[in-house]
Structure formats: structure tokens, C-alpha cells
């Protein structure tokens, strides 16, 4: 049945082959070495490394701060996208371009800039200090840095979906008697929810792996403001390669499970939307 297998989109075999090779070389093989390197440790040694109280505390900081940062980015990213799509104002294109800056800026520069601003005698920190809020060298500072680097993800995933949502749909809701918040919760939000979830997942994933901007603002106090990537670097500097990969492995597995869950949620949401 040769000509039954012909399709109007030829090249499936070839393109899939290249995709698999490419992904293997760039992603799969490097990640596999994390497993092989970790395997140098015995079972109990592995367990002792990854459940060390200092390491456990760093998981909490990394995943906790990343989660909060991704949440904040979801809320404000939606707002930024909304403003950029729905309103016309002078400088709109400039703001639009600025959204991408966290992508381009070396993260260390961002970290240093944020630290300077938020230290107790900095521009912003000076106002927060009397209120009893300290940002730099605390958990809040880490979150601020992670919010900064994660912002573009939500904006850029939600923007095209909002673009697609005609103003007429909102006008229709209003003409049917819906209040503004009803229009938002029942019409706008369900429509952008899948994109919002994607943006959240990307910002979250990016935050988990972030190193450069955080190390400056966090102060790196053991048990308090140490993030997982910092611990990994520390172990590497001590030539504890197996220990470093063991911690990395835990990160990898947890991140993968989280992203998988988010993807499943998204799949459900998209099926419900059925565009």
C-alpha cells in the first residue's frame, strides 16, 4: 500500500530523525551524564547528600521563591499584556520592547542592580527599611530577582491570545448584562487561562534554574538564603562532583514532575477551550 502512506506533508521521517538526534545531543545526553555521575555514589551516600539539612533548606528556598515569583509574574504579566494589547498610548512600543530586556541583560548585571536598589541604604531599600521590610539578603530579595528574570515569559505567552480575543466579545458580555468583573472571570480569564498556565510554567522553570542574579541579592546565608544552584556550585568548587550531580538530579526530577503536571493541567484546560 505504498501510495496510501503518501501524504501532502512529506519529510516526516527525516525531520523527526533530525529532531531526535538534535535533542539527544543537546538535552538528553548531557542530562544522562547527571545520572551516570550520580551513580558513583552508593545508595546511603546519595541519600545522605540529598537530605542534608542545608540542602533541604535550599530546596525550600529555590522552589518556594520560584513559585511565588512565578505567581506574581502571572498576575502582573497578565496586566502588562492587557495594557499592551488593549490600549494605545505614546511609548507603547517602547514598553513592549522593555519587556524583553530581562531576556537580554546578563543576569549578574540584573542581580547587582537590584541589590544596589534594595540594600537598606539604597534608593528603594531606604524607604522600605523604616517599614521594617528588608529585601536584600533575604528570601524576599531572591523572589524579587526571580520576578525580574521571569517577567517576559508570561507577557509573551499571553499577549497573542489577548490579541485574538476581540473587543466585541467583551462588548457582547456587557450587552448581556455582565458586570466588568463577571466579564473578566467568565469570559476573558477562561480564554487566556491556558496561555497563562504556560507562561507560569516557563517563568517557574526559569526561576528554578536561575543563578546569576540571585547570588548577589540573596546574601547566601546557609539554611536561610541559599538556593540549590549555589549549593551545586559550592560542591563543584570543592571537587565533590558526585555530590553536585546528586543534588542536581533531585532538582531535575522534581522540576520535570512539576512541568509534567503543569502540562497535564494545560492539556485539560485546552481541551475544555477547544479552540
Amino acid at each position: 500500500m505504498r501510495h496510501n502512506s503518501r501524504t501532502v506533508l512529506p519529510g516526516f521521517g527525516l525531520s523527526l530523525g533530525i529532531t531526535c538526534t538534535y535533542l539527544s545531543l543537546l538535552v538528553l545526553i548531557p542530562l544522562a551524564t547527571v545520572f551516570t555521575k550520580t551513580a558513583e555514589l552508593s545508595g546511603p551516600a546519595f541519600w545522605a547528600t540529598v537530605t542534608d539539612p542545608r540542602v533541604v533548606a535550599s530546596y525550600r528556598v529555590t522552589f518556594g521563591a520560584s513559585f511565588v515569583a512565578a505567581l506574581v509574574n502571572t498576575v502582573f504579566g497578565l496586566l502588562v499584556a492587557w495594557v499592551l494589547v488593549r490600549y494605545r498610548f505614546p511609548g507603547r512600543r517602547l514598553v513592549d520592547a522593555m519587556v524583553d530586556l530581562p531576556f537580554a541583560l546578563p543576569t549578574a548585571v540584573a542581580g547587582i542592580a537590584l541589590t544596589t536598589l534594595y540594600v537598606p541604604n539604597g534608593w528603594v531599600g531606604g524607604y522600605l527599611e523604616p517599614l521594617g521590610i528588608q529585601v536584600s539578603y533575604t528570601w524576599i530579595g531572591i523572589t524579587v530577582a526571580l520576578i525580574f528574570i521571569g517577567l517576559p515569559f508570561v507577557v509573551r505567552t499571553v499577549q497573542p491570545v489577548l490579541d485574538d480575543l476581540e473587543v466585541e466579545v467583551e462588548e457582547a458580555a456587557a450587552s448581556l448584562g455582565a458586570r466588568r468583573w463577571q466579564t473578566f472571570t467568565r469570559v476573558v480569564f477562561p480564554t487566556v487561562a491556558p496561555a497563562l498556565l504556560t507562561g507560569f510554567a516557563m517563568a517557574f522553570a526559569r526561576a528554578i534554574g536561575e543563578y546569576g542574579s540571585v547570588v548577589f541579592i540573596s546574601g547566601n546565608m546557609p539554611m536561610k538564603t541559599e538556593i540549590v544552584p549555589l549549593l551545586i556550585i559550592t560542591k563543584l568548587e570543592q571537587y565533590d562532583y558526585a555530590g553536585a550531580t546528586a543534588v542536581a538530579l533531585v532538582m531535575l526530577v522534581v522540576s520535570f514532575l512539576l512541568l509534567l503536571t503543569i502540562n497535564l493541567l494545560q492539556w485539560v484546560a485546552r481541551r475544555r477551550l477547544a479552540v
Binding site: 466585541e168 466579545v169 457582547a172 450587552s175 448581556l176 448584562g177 455582565a178 477547544a274
Partner: protein, 362 residues
């Protein structure tokens, strides 16, 4: 629920969309706002709905001033050209939306909502499709869902913005007959915007013809078609031939020919344009009097019950279009290049030189 529009003005920047518009829609009627694009008809509809604020003027529903009332309190049903359905909801939930967002004290129970929606689905003949998504429906079906959704809130007024504009010709025709029948069933005061003259004349009780932000004429389809008030209306409704000439003592001189224009008995040698519908002409092989205009047959489109002829005037090369019943055409036995005389049987003369370049406006 009657609608009154008084002295409405609306400008977008320097563009005047509506210029002192007055309009009366008697309760229970189906009214068409007809005009070319940019004539202000959609703006007028959106202001009636409350989707757009007016710069000046009043809107009254049943005598009550609603000018400053927000759209969600106006109790209007609005149907958009591109349906504007909620794509994440089923057809059923789309129609139920207006009932579900009501404040708790006046919100119907789930059972009542179900009954209402099922009733509306029957009305728009989509009973079996309640659980589908809008994306799974055809254009015509989507527009019927949009209509049912608008009717669910029992609007005082139904407003439709080019409701059939995005549909193909055949579906359009079906749907507009269906809309006419539906209107006879539910009898809610309705205003719909269209740029299609045939649609407006066929569906509505009353046609309002708009041009450049003003109402040119309003009346029943027969009135506006048979007695156009302005040259614009004459040209916009149906095919018409224009003859430029001089009006003098009840006659219009067009080249060597003279057409009767008794309503201009007082006029003394002034510029004028005679409007003649393409079917208000008689063709004869030889001159039949002063009003005959000599022409040469340029093109014949001989299909269907009406034969369309394009003729060139011998005098100045101007073009004349004539529509003849087939029997008459067969009797004449016309061929391309033949000489034939055209005598207008019904002429409407407006003073002033219309745009001289347009010999015929369709």
C-alpha cells in the same frame, strides 16, 4: 418598545460619523439601516446600544431617556457581524450567559435557565447542537446562536450589526427570510445594519437610508424604492441611468431629445439630471417621438428572464443600460451593433449637475 433618536452627533477626531441624526423606530418594527460603508450606520447602532457614547443628542426608549445609561442596563440584545461568541463555552452556555450573570435575587433557577435555553435552541433550530462548541458550527449556525444568546435576556430592543455580512450568498438569503419569520414570531423592536439594498428591502418593515452621517430618507421599502427623495437614494437602490441636460418649462433637454418633467413647469433653463431606472425604458427600431434617444447595441447578456443590454448613445457615446423582459427582447430581435431607440417611460428629474463623469450608478 419604540426608539427615538434626536439630533445625534458623533465625531471621531475630525471625521464626522453622525451629523444631526434623527430617527424614530416604532415599537415592534423591524427597521433596516442601509448605507454604504462609512455612512455612519454602525456608529448609530452602537450608540443606540450604548457601546459608544454620543457627542450630542438624545436616545429614548419608549420615551425614557437612556442616553447616559451603560450598555448592560439598557436591555438591548446586540448581534455582531462576526458573532462574538464565547468560544470556551458550549452553545448552551453561550445562550445561558445573560441569565447566569444576573444578580442572585433576580437570577432564574438552573431549571428555568435550562427551559429558556432549550426553548431558544428550538426557536433557532439548533436543538441538537446545545453541547457543541462554537468552533464546531458553521457560520450560519453561529449567527443563530448569537441571536438566541441576545434574545435570552428578553431585550427590549434587538440590534444587529451586519448580521449576515460574513456569510456566503446562499446562507445569507436563507437566514434573512428566517430572520423575517422570527421577527413575526417574537415581535421585538429590531434594528439591523446592512449595506445590501436587496437585504434591506426584502426583510424590513422600514428602511432608513444613510449617507455621510445623515439620514437621506426613511420609509417603507416600497416608498423608498418607488419614490426616492434624493439623487443618492435613487442611485443607491437599484440600477439607474443618468441623463444630464437642461430643465426648461417642464421638459429636460438631453442632447436632441426631450423628456417630460411636469413637476419642473416653473423651471427656466437650469442644469438638471434625469434619473431613469434600467427597466423603465422602451426600445423601438425607429424613433417614436421627441423623447427617443438614438443608441447602438454594444453588449447583450441574454440569460435568465430579464435581458440586460448595454447601449451607446449615438450623440455623445454615453452609456445606457436597459433591462428587458425576454418576450419583448425576442420580438425585437436585437443584435450587437444594431441601431435602436430608447424612450424612457418614467423619469425623475433632480436639479443641479450631478457628478458628470458617472453616466450610470449601480
Amino acid at each position: 418598545m419604540s426608539i427615538e433618536v434626536r439630533n445625534l452627533r458623533k465625531a471621531f477626531g475630525t471625521f464626522v460619523a453622525l451629523d444631526d441624526v434623527n430617527l424614530d423606530v416604532p415599537g415592534g418594527e423591524l427597521v433596516a439601516l442601509l448605507g454604504p460603508s462609512g455612512s455612519g450606520k454602525t456608529t448609530l447602532l452602537r450608540i443606540i446600544a450604548g457601546l459608544e457614547p454620543a457627542d450630542q443628542g438624545l436616545i429614548r426608549f419608549e420615551g425614557e431617556d437612556t442616553t447616559d445609561r451603560p450598555v448592560r442596563e439598557r436591555q438591548v440584545g446586540f448581534v455582531f457581524q462576526h458573532y462574538a461568541l464565547f468560544r470556551h463555552m458550549s452553545v448552551f452556555e453561550n445562550i445561558a450567559f445573560g441569565l447566569r450573570v444576573r444578580p442572585r435575587p433576580v437570577r432564574p433557577s438552573d431549571e428555568e435557565i435550562r427551559d429558556t435555553v432549550m426553548g431558544l435552541l428550538r426557536l433557532v433550530q439548533l436543538e441538537a447542537l446545545g453541547q457543541r462548541r462554537p468552533s464546531e458550527l458553521s457560520g450560519g449556525q453561529r449567527q443563530r446562536v448569537a441571536l438566541a444568546r441576545a434574545l435570552a435576556v428578553k431585550p427590549k430592543v434587538l440590534l444587529l450589526d451586519e448580521p449576515f455580512g460574513a456569510l456566503d450568498a446562499k446562507v445569507r438569503k436563507e437566514l434573512r427570510r428566517w430572520l423575517r419569520r422570527l421577527h413575526e414570531e417574537v415581535h421585538v423592536t429590531s434594528v439591523f445594519v446592512t449595506h445590501d439594498q436587496e437585504e434591506a428591502l426584502e426583510v424590513s418593515d422600514r428602511v432608513v437610508i444613510m449617507n455621510e452621517g445623515r439620514v437621506e430618507q426613511s420609509g417603507t421599502p416600497e416608498e423608498v424604492y418607488e419614490r426616492p427623495a434624493t439623487p443618492f437614494v435613487y442611485g443607491f437602490l437599484g440600477d439607474v441611468n443618468l441623463f444630464h441636460g437642461r430643465i426648461d418649462r417642464g421638459r429636460v433637454k438631453v442632447g436632441a431629445s426631450e423628456l417630460d418633467a411636469p413637476e419642473w413647469a416653473e423651471a427656466r433653463d437650469q442644469a438638471g439630471v434625469a434619473y431613469v431606472r434600467t427597466y423603465d425604458v422602451e426600445l423601438t427600431p425607429s424613433s417614436s417621438g421627441r423623447s427617443s434617444i438614438e443608441t447602438i447595441v454594444r453588449h447583450i447578456r441574454a440569460f435568465g428572464p430579464v435581458i440586460r443590454l448595454e447601449l451607446d448613445r449615438v450623440e455623445d457615446g454615453g452609456s445606457v443600460e436597459a433591462h428587458l423582459p425576454r418576450a419583448q427582447y425576442d420580438k425585437l430581435g436585437l443584435v450587437k451593433g444594431q441601431r435602436v431607440f430608447v424612450s424612457p417611460t418614467s423619469v425623475r428629474v433632480f436639479a443641479g449637475p450631478a457628478d458628470g463623469s458617472a453616466a450610470r450608478i449601480a
